[in-house]
Symmetry: C2
Subunit: 307 residues, 2 copies
């Protein structure tokens, strides 16, 4: 194995890393230039990564790039609203300009592969990463490889209905996993609980506008309202996770995104709830852990597309 | 490719078939002897299949067997209540007594592989079979191969909650896909609708005891109560199917089991409902079809374990 570059294109920064013989030897980030300038911006970072790590282009085996949105098998970005892209032939542009092999995939899926190979997945065959951020993203690794479904349109784990006829989701369905378990949903239910219990301890530090996905966890031991918000959130999360455990029976389900900062306050009660709900938990246990690569997971996973 | 035998062990019959160069050339079934006599009973059918098709044992490349219950990777039946088995080393017994390679897997999973390779799946890479019978079974074929999860405990598609806190399921969870979409659930909601509308046309032919999963479909065009039962059933089914479509994005989702006898009365409205619910249905469509191998799917799939 030689040198591989992994790049994760976000709305504000492109994160880059250089893997040498499977080990990260250099990292560098630059601000994202969106729209039609994106390919040029990525090429600039590729050159900075190469020069910064002292690697000549001829030693680079491949460049993995991940970004938000639906990406075709040919590496075309069908649509990525916050990058200002539509039908953008990213892989083709990069391969032509850099004269190096390029692979492009969705960032949530890349993060799942990164965590599976380099992070908390610990190299098990089957793992799932659930990213609890503004939405609920997900990625599926089966037999050590990324699984994305036909035309890479699968792995939309956030858009699994867990409560038919429930809260309307951004996707148009009612009762999606995402509508209950995103950081946004947690923030909303925290603020609602505060409004309904104006004497709650949460009000001492936070106002209706400053409370966020961390607030209820922070006050769960001192404030009944906060406790109830966390309990309900954990139950919803356990429901979706137990569904995925029954469907995939992976060895590990990883939690990433902002909410994962809660660590064992999140995973410990979650594990107990999931163990109680799934089929044959003793026979084929599913471990619930927090992801470990933070916002580097996508770049690692993008590089792993060449491994 | 030479000769492969496929056997599907049910509670009352063991179905067997002989594949020669990938084509079924002979079929034979015998009554099941359950409990510790099962291996002997299977061996008897193997001999009948060989003699009936004029194939000597030395020409058999392998024997695939499927049966209900959880089966370990070593082909041990952990538990199959209606066969009276617990920790029964089926593969080991058969291999020793027959001196031929044997593979054993779960019957619902085998049926999915059978349909994917020989039936309505039509050889696409990714397909899912949902069997609507007493329960809701399922099997997952990814990249042309059976996917069963760690220790083969996955693919429990019926035990995905679609309505949190809903109807209690046999598995202990509340609101499972199975609790709404099994033939049993359909029968129950039909009988409930009849009790609530004693003037309904369904009563002319059926009594509370004789109405079953077919009744509401039979009267859906003449009877409002029946129509409502079917509509609600289709909506629940579409919800679970849309979940699986968003998660796996297979090319095809197949419906098997007794309810599949409704054919396009089932699949046509279902397709419309699912198309409306899933992400990017135009970009990566998911076709909904009825399975085509009937109760032979398991035997085909068991044989396909050697292909």
């Amino acid at each position: 194995m030689g040198c591989i570059l992994g790049l994760d294109v976000g709305g504000t920064f492109i994160k880059g890393l250089v893997l040498k013989d499977g080990k990260a030897v250099y990292e560098h980030d630059i601000p994202t230039r969106t729209g039609l300038e994106l390919a040029g911006c990525i090429e600039e970072l590729v050159e900075l990564l190469a020069s910064g790590s002292g690697i000549t282009f001829s030693k680079i085996d491949g460049i993995g790039v991940c970004c938000p949105g639906v990406i075709t098998e040919d590496g075309e970005v069908v649509k990525a609203a916050n990058l200002g892209l539509e039908n953008y032939p990213l892989k083709e542009l990069l391969q032509k300009n850099l004269s190096l092999p390029v692979k492009v995939c969705n960032d949530a899926n890349a993060a799942a592969l990164g965590e599976a190979r380099f992070g908390a997945g610990g190299g098990v065959a089957n793992s799932i990463l659930i990213t609890l951020g503004t939405g609920v993203g997900g990625g599926i690794v089966l037999n050590g490889e990324l699984f994305e479904g036909n035309k890479r349109a699968g792995a939309e784990l956030g858009h699994m209905v867990i409560e038919r006829g429930g809260v309307r989701c951004t996707c148009g369905r009612y009762g999606c996993f995402e509508a209950y378990c995103s950081a946004r949903a947690l923030t909303e239910s925290t603020r609602k609980a505060m409004r309904q219990d104006t004497g709650s301890a949460m009000w001492k530090t936070y106002t209706h506008d400053t409370a966020d996905g961390r607030t209820a966890f922070e006050y769960m031991d001192t404030d009944d309202s906060a406790r109830r918000v966390v309990d309900k959130y954990l139950q919803n999360l356990a429901c979706g996770i137990a569904n995925l455990a029954n469907i995939f029976r992976p060895q590990v389900i990883l939690i990433g995104g902002g909410v994962a900062a809660q660590g064992t306050r999140l995973t410990k009660p979650l594990q107990a709830l999931v163990d109680r709900e799934i089929f044959a938990a003793d026979y084929a246990p599913v471990e619930i852990k927090c992801a470990s690569l933070g916002n580097r997971a996508g770049a690692y996973g993008a590089a792993a597309l060449f491994m």
